[in-house]
């Protein structure tokens, strides 16, 4: 490569809001449900039906705007985006083009290269479309409008990012803010957070932007990172070989690690946007805006400081615990139910994180309750079970949110505290393992480990290993 290039990236992030009902009607937003059961005349585009804005959608959108330092438009409107497609029952999508609810914001991100501010051009509200299902057997396409009218916000960044690392940091920051606000669960895999990447290349030192492409179908942070790298190389190759980058929308195929063109700017549709006459302009009073501001939750930075002061746990723990809202909530609830903070933290950042990684899950997927975790912690505190058993119980807790007290009872996992019986067992172990005993006496201190192991096996792990150690040493 003869020249040095810079990658310029801007993102369009769609976030599904966590409202119980749809944006313009009272239908449920619950995931699943038999096709077309969460529908009504409004979200199926029946003649004569009219949209009415769900106030919660507006409040969530404003709260995200405030948390990302946006200006809130106190006079805002909905516009119709006209295009024909069967998943879009009215053949227009109600969105915001001319006067979006939030604009001119920014979020601060931190990468190895340091801190940086990423500008937010605007945040607007819109409705999701239905889902098309192709029936190969009947060779026809069916449409399910359960998703039609599910509320979305689209967060449009400025072209301020220069690497995949910055993009991921920006997305993680957005996700954290939105989760902390409770405005969405932001799951990429399930599509409640979706990012389209606008990317262009320019020579270092050149002021003008290059021609950009828009990449769609990115379902994970890893896919996003791979797509950015793939597109960066593709565009540089084009420029190096004297060709031009075409402004187009491309679809990323993560399994092939390759993107292909979906449509170019030339065949871009004219959406004939105009203000939706069925919806009155949105007027947000100062009082309402202040009310939303006042409701702002504790964000990560504040939470980190409080954890240090209130719980006195190490920075390392705090970093992991506050990295997702779900984990932080779980931690706080566990402590509130009477657990020692450090012990709760240990379970969450130790075993929990290990199992999440092993099972390729997100912290949002954790299903166990703080009540049951507290029970487990109390069982170990009172030495009813030992640490080995506790790990086994935790495995069950993680999987099925079992009640540890009942589980230990049913499975007979309580630690045996009968020292006489234990002494007898150990005597037997010593008698049956003369080799290890000899090794021990010959100075191989580690040989005691084998004897502890045998004892644990004989007692099915229900004894305190420390006590076993102590008795063994005595007897030997």
């Amino acid at each position: 490569m003869s020249k040095e290039y810079e990658t310029v990236i801007g993102l369009e992030v769609h976030v599904e809001l966590a409202t119980k009902t749809k944006i313009f009607c009272g239908c449920s937003t619950a995931f699943g449900g038999a096709p077309n059961t969460h529908t009504c005349p409004v979200c199926t585009g029946m003649p004569g039906s009219l949209p009415v804005l769900n106030k919660q959608v507006l409040e969530y959108a404003m709260s995200v705007g405030l948390a990302t330092n946006c200006q809130i438009s106190q006079y805002s409107k909905f516009d119709r985006k006209n295009y024909f497609y069967p998943d879009n029952p009215q053949n227009y999508q109600i969105s915001q083009l001319y006067l979006p609810i939030c604009h001119d914001g920014s979020v601060e991100i931190e990468t190895e290269a340091g801190k940086k501010s990423v500008g937010i051009h605007e945040i607007h509200m819109e409705e999701d479309a239905g889902k098309l299902i192709h029936d190969d057997w009947e060779d026809c396409t069916l449409v399910d409008y359960n998703r039609s009218g599910v509320p979305l916000i689209e967060i449009v960044s400025e072209p301020d990012m220069r690497s995949a690392e910055e993009v991921i940091a920006y997305l993680e920051k957005l996700r954290l803010i939105i989760q902390y606000l409770g405005a969405s669960d932001c799951k990429l895999q399930e599509g409640s957070m979706r990012a389209d990447v606008n990317l262009s290349i320019r020579e270092v030192g050149v002021a003008e932007f290059g021609t950009r492409t828009e990449m769609k179908n990115l379902n994970s942070f890893k896919a996003i990172a791979r797509a950015i790298e793939g597109e960066r190389i593709r565009q540089i190759d084009l420029l190096e070989s004297g060709e031009k980058v075409i402004q187009e929308t491309r679809r990323w195929d993560d399994s092939k690690e390759y993107s292909y063109a979906m449509r170019s700017k030339e065949d871009a549709q004219d959406y004939r946007y105009f203000p939706d006459p069925d919806l009155a302009p949105i007027v947000v009073s100062d009082a309402w805006l202040n009310e939303i501001k006042a409701r702002e939750p504790e964000f990560r930075t504040e939470k980190m400081l409080r954890y240090k002061e209130e719980f006195g746990i190490p920075d390392y723990d705090i970093d992991i615990l506050t990295n997702t809202k779900h984990m932080a909530d779980l931690f706080e609830e566990t402590v509130a139910l009477g657990s020692d903070p450090k012990k709760a933290s240990n379970w969450l950042m130790g075993e929990t994180m290990r199992l999440l990684k092993e099972k390729n899950m997100d912290p949002e997927d954790i299903c166990f309750s703080p009540e049951n975790l507290v029970k487990l912690i109390k069982l170990t505190d009172s030495k009813v079970i030992n640490s080995t058993v506790a790990k086994e119980v935790f495995g069950e807790l993680f999987e099925k949110d079992i009640d540890p007290e009942k589980y230990v009872e049913e499975k007979g996992l309580k630690t045996v505290n009968d020292e006489g019986a234990l002494r007898k067992t150990i005597e037997e172990v010593i008698a049956n393992n003369p080799k290890s005993v000899e090794d021990y006496h010959n100075g191989k201190v580690k040989a005691i480990g084998a004897l502890v192991g045998q004892t644990m096996k004989a007692t099915q792990g229900k004894v305190d290993p420390a006590m076993v150690n102590q008795i063994l040493k005595e007897l030997l």
Binding site: P41, T44, G45, M46, P47, G48, S49, L50, P51, V52, L53, R80, N82, F84, P86, P89, Q90, N91, Y92, V143, D270, R272, Y273, F274, P277, D278, L279, A280
Partner: protein
């Protein structure tokens, strides 16, 4: 015959007094329909079975004292662009030729709750686009006064049905004059309420920012009475106005309170712009005579310049067509309505379905609307039209600082002959000149008969009020009606 000569309010009173049963009234209407409908064709769909069943049910509720309202038991007709659950609703279009709604429009629901008997759905210009009811996909409606003439439109079926005694009152919708102009042509009373007064939920939209449901009735008393029933705040319509709110309360919504035979001191303005070129001499004479009548009763009548009248038609056709082009996108052959028989892929299906399903006037307005919203033209046409709309509203605001009511004709002529108007759409559009500004400004307007021309066709008088001032219109119209005396009936 004697039943049919009653007004809706008179009929309801006789039903209440047990002089006439609901069933008798309903049967009388269906007998009249049998007699006249073959020629007039006011209805797209008749629901005799449903109406008779409802009549029996309503009679029981009246007898039990559960229904005591002023229109309980009265047979009504509904324009075919309002959804009626289980009853065909076509907008007089092939594309909705088989459409049976799953819900009922709010205004219709209000009538049903008041004990009205819905007897059928009236013919109209396709999707309310037209001024003669001739653009209907299901045949023309004829003017009951002279059958070779149009009834006006787009609520022509509703107006003709009221005039011919094929119902006692009817609902219409008015986007640019579609209630007032057919009322004028058919010699009945028609009111377009302030935008937001009657819920649009269930009204199949043409131009959403201009559409408003209103009544077509035999007299002003019936009009005020039904207005109290259909006007309601509706949480399902974001543009619905709470008439109990501070903004609207001063004008009030007890419309029947305004049935007072007194216009002393009422300030009435006559816009000179409404009496210029293009206005038929007989219409002019008749309307000015009506103004004179009101003056005699103590009203202060003077002429003034409204201005901007010439800009109303282009602004209206830009805005209404733009909204219509988007509103009518949902008719695509996917979910309901007509779908072409044979097609090759999705886009071909859309194209063929819509080409075959819509008539020429609807296509013309979809194309016009799509054009004015296209990128590059949006500012020059659509935004400019919105600015004109705002200026027209301002001109009316200035007028209403001086006058309580504006008086003028509803249409430049009486009903033209069938087939005359469709030849020249521009000429047809110009016929809306006196009614259109009212929709652009969101104002209430009423039309009532004030004479009969030399051809034997009725002439309409239009009164326009400021926002929420329906009561002033009703009062003025009622006072004029008292002076005029009972209008000639053409119930044959």
């Amino acid at each position: 015959m004697s039943i049919l000569s009653l007004s809706a309010v008179e009929l309801a009173a006789k039903i209440k007094a047990k002089e006439i049963s609901v069933l008798e009234a309903t049967q009388a209407v269906f007998e009249q329909i049998e007699k006249r409908e073959g020629v007039l064709h006011c209805y797209v769909t008749l629901d005799k079975e449903g109406a008779l069943a409802t009549a029996e049910k309503v009679q029981k509720q009246i007898d039990a004292g559960e229904l005591t309202g002023p229109l309980a038991g009265v047979p009504v007709a509904i324009k075919d662009n309002m959804c009626t659950k289980g009853l065909l609703t076509t907008c007089s279009s092939k594309i909705l030729g088989n459409f049976i709604p799953t819900y009922t429009a709010k205004a219709v629901e209000n009538l049903e709750k008041a004990g009205a008997i819905i007897i059928g759905k009236t013919n109209m210009d396709e999707f309310a686009m037209g001024s003669t009811t001739e653009t209907s996909a299901f045949g023309v409606t004829k003017n009951p006064w002279k059958e070779e003439h149009v009834p006006g439109g787009s609520s022509g079926g509703s107006a003709a049905a009221v005039a011919a005694g094929e119902c006692f009152l009817a609902l219409g919708s008015d986007t640019g004059g579609s209630i007032r102009q057919p009322a004028s042509f058919c010699g009945v009373v028609g009111m377009k309420p302030t935008y937001g007064t009657v819920s649009r939920y269930g009204l199949i939209a043409y131009g959403s920012s201009l559409d408003q449901i209103g009544p077509l009735t035999k007299d002003v008393t019936d009009c005020a009475t039904i207005m109290e029933i259909i006007a309601s705040y509706d949480g399902k319509d974001s543009t619905s106005v709470d008439r109990e709110s501070e903004l609207a309360k001063k004008a009030g919504n007890k419309f029947t309170d305004a049935l007072v035979n007194d216009v002393k001191g009422m300030r009435i303005g006559i816009p000179r712009d409404y009496f210029g070129e293009g206005l038929d001499e007989e219409v002019k004479t008749s309307v000015l005579a009506a103004a004179e009548e009101l003056k005699k009763k103590g009203a202060i009548v003077e002429e003034f310049d409204l201005s901007l009248v010439d800009y109303a038609i282009p602004a209206y056709y830009t805005i209404a067509s733009a909204e219509a082009s988007s509103n009518l996108e949902r008719f695509d052959g996917i979910k309901y309505g007509y779908r072409t028989k044979e097609f090759d892929g999705l886009h071909n299906m859309y194209k063929k379905t819509r080409s075959e399903g819509f008539g020429p006037e609807v296509k013309r307005r979809i194309m016009l609307g799509s054009f004015v919203l296209s990128s590059g033209y949006y500012d020059a046409y659509y935004l400019k039209a919105l600015r004109v709309k705002a200026l027209i509203k301002k001109a009316f605001d200035e007028a209403f600082a001086k006058y309580d009511v504006i008086l003028g004709p509803a249409a430049p002529t009486t009903a033209p002959k069938l087939g005359e108007s469709l030849v020249d759409p521009i000429q047809m559009y110009l016929g809306d000149i006196y009614t259109i500004s009212v929709n652009l400004a969101g104002l209430p307007g009423i039309c009532l008969p004030c004479g009969i021309d030399s051809k034997g066709l009725p002439i309409g008088l239009q009164l326009i009020g400021d926002c929420f001032e329906e009561k002033k219109l009703i009062q003025t119209a009622y006072a004029y009606e008292q002076a005029r005396g009972k209008f000639q009936t053409i119930v044959k």
